[in-house]
């Protein structure tokens, strides 16, 4: 457990704060919704109610991360967000296809939802059309994925943020800044075992010390790719959930923990980890946790 010498930025979106020195703000969790198959709205509604309840109980903010994989899903998913989420609750949209991103951004503007939107994500695949759409429909916050196919180490991740690794005309951070987006979350791009998977965790303190930006990743993806764990199904689930612990332990600010179905396991686990970090951070570094921190909520 440690503290950074670089000043750490804290960004707010619809009342949820992300970033800062370890131990100050609770780790923010992102749970994936509609990752596979046809969107099941009833099931999603149940899970969202669960995260709202457990987050309230523990103090660990949990944001639904909506996958939009097909054009025809845009309208119903955005309507679902409008109807089901509390009126000022933040959410992220997780889209790969640039054309779907563009159309979704336009609808979010129309529905006046951009101030609650975390855009997941800007990366080396950004297109001119996407940049134009982001200029006209600028979300409140973006996740920037520091994936550098040329160098998967923490240095490579900084390179792609800094100058685009000669894959984009500018560094990814500059692209976001030029769009007028200051609220940037860095995703350290977790990779498969044997592809420097540990670098995603090692990069968290490196990037926070370099930029002071809120940083995290989807480390559970490494578990998914650890095929040897298929021989240990019970352990695999445990490891998948527990993998998220590495993020706050290495000073990270948020975890994209996979399917929202895992929220009941992940949220208390991260609350527990945050308490551990906070106790030491306050005693040693004098970092006082905010009032909503799990340590204040759960240890009375």
């Amino acid at each position: 457990m440690f503290s950074f010498t670089k000043e750490q930025k804290v960004f707010d979106i619809s009342g949820t704060s992300i970033g800062g020195q370890p131990g100050m703000y609770p780790t923010v969790l992102f749970g994936g919704v509609f990752f596979k198959g046809e969107p099941d709205f009833d099931d999603a509604k149940r899970h969202i109610q669960t995260i709202l309840d457990i987050s309230k109980q523990t103090g660990t903010p949990t944001i639904p991360d909506f996958f939009i994989r097909k054009v025809e899903y845009i309208q119903p998913i955005i309507s679902f967000i409008e109807k089901v989420l509390p009126r000022k609750y933040p959410f992220s949209i997780d889209i790969i296809e640039p054309s779907i991103k563009v159309e979704t951004l336009e609808l979010l503007t129309e529905k006046k939802l951009l101030s609650r939107t975390i855009y997941n994500s800007i990366h080396i695949g950004i297109t001119k059309e996407e940049i134009e759409a982001l200029q006209n429909n600028t979300p409140e916050m973006v996740i920037v994925v520091a994936f550098n196919p040329k160098n998967k180490s923490p240095d490579g991740k900084i390179e792609v943020l800094e100058n685009g690794a000669h894959l984009t005309e500018r560094g990814l951070l500059e692209i976001a800044h030029k769009l007028g987006i200051e609220k940037i979350l860095v995703d350290t791009a977790a990779l498969a075992p044997d592809e420097n998977s540990g670098a995603a965790i090692a990069a968290i303190p490196v990037i926070k010390e370099e930029y002071g930006l809120p940083t995290g990743c989807a480390i559970h993806n490494v578990v998914e790719k650890s095929l040897w764990l298929n021989d240990f199904p019970l352990a695999k689930k445990t490891v998948d959930v527990a993998s998220n612990n590495s993020i706050p332990l290495f000073g990270g600010d948020y975890a994209i923990f996979g399917p929202i179905e895992n929220a009941e396991l992940v949220i208390p686990l991260i609350a527990w980890q945050d308490i551990l970090v906070s106790e030491y951070a306050e005693n040693y570094f004098g970092v006082t946790p905010v009032a909503s921190h799990p340590r204040r909520k759960l240890l009375k």
């Binding site: 080396i124 695949g125 490579g156 390179e159 800094e162 894959l167």
Partner: protein, 299 residues
């Protein structure tokens, strides 16, 4: 006497990298492959019927291509030297091996090394604080690469553009570290205006000198003043201009080179790497270069 001039490239070739595909591979948890970009570059060169081709140096600009893989280097805005520069793993060898299997018979392959002085001058040194020491460590690392590379290529070319700005007094020794004892012919490419350093260049421990005679035609007259017994690779189309030189223009240029260097003109090439040209322009220039070479060789 019938001239035998081979067409060649200097190194890099333009490719359009599909970054969206790369990120989709990441999201789908697939390992990305670079082979299609090597194929694009090599296919263009072989379709243009170039005699000595390269792997296109498609992965990175010519500095980062090497510093990315060497110990002691890290890449920020520029390469930073943060420890002892040492050879780690093969740098260009895997791509050269892949390029080799794409080549028709009788097409030669050039192994390209960015020279130690250019690597030094392009880096920010936070560790050595001694330019010469850094240069020699780069040279030693490159020698390791050359030793492996010679098993897979027909010619090893060292790219030292910074020599035209400033030639260190130890330049000859530096290049010798890489070239001495290699089993393949060697070439030193120095682009830019080399008019001030011709006496030193002709003493370099390499078999072939390569310069940008098209952008700097005054070099012909300057080389005439020295008894240059080195074999020459003559830059015959520009790499910094999208205008495509006609076959006739290239032939005239080569004839001028032959008038001065006679049978020592063994290669004709673009003035420099073609990375910054649009791909179709680069290809068209290579086609015309190839056609001009045939005319010169009496084809």
């Amino acid at each position: 006497m019938k001239q035998k001039v081979k067409t060649s490239v200097i190194g890099s070739y333009p490719v359009c990298v599909d970054t969206l595909e790369l990120i989709k591979d990441y999201f789908s948890e697939r390992e990305s492959s670079w082979t299609k970009y090597i194929e694009q570059a090599v296919r263009d060169m072989t379709t243009a019927e170039i005699n000595f081709v390269s792997d296109g140096q498609t992965r990175d600009p010519f500095i980062q291509l090497f510093t990315r893989k060497l110990r002691g280097c890290r890449i920020r805005d520029r390469t930073e030297i943060v420890g002892h520069v040492e050879y780690n793993d093969p740098i260009t060898v895997p791509d050269q091996k892949y390029a080799r299997h794409l080549l028709p018979r009788n097409t030669g392959l050039i192994g390209i090394l960015t020279g130690p002085y250019t690597l030094t001058k392009s880096s920010v040194d936070f560790f050595y604080h001694d330019e010469k020491e850094l240069c020699f460590d780069f040279a030693t690392a490159l020698r390791n690469e050359a030793a492996l590379l010679q098993k897979h290529v027909d010619l090893i070319s060292i790219d030292e553009p910074f020599f035209s700005n400033e030639l260190p007094e130890y330049a000859e020794e530096l290049i010798g570290i890489i070239t001495n004892g290699l089993s393949r012919p060697t070439r030193l490419h120095v682009c830019g205006d080399v008019s001030r350093i011709i006496p030193q260049l002709v003493e370099m421990p390499v078999d072939i000198l390569s310069h940008e005679f098209k952008a700097s035609p005054h070099l012909f007259d300057l080389f005439r003043e020295y008894s240059c017994m080195k074999k020459m690779c003559v830059g015959a189309v520009r790499s910094d201009d999208v205008r495509v030189e006609s076959i006739e223009e290239i032939v005239t240029h080569i004839k001028k080179a032959i008038d001065i260097f006679e049978e020592n003109v063994v290669q004709i090439a673009p003035d420099c790497g073609q990375r910054l040209l649009p791909r179709e322009i680069a290809f068209h220039k290579l086609q015309n270069l190839s056609a001009a070479g045939e005319i010169i060789n009496g084809g």
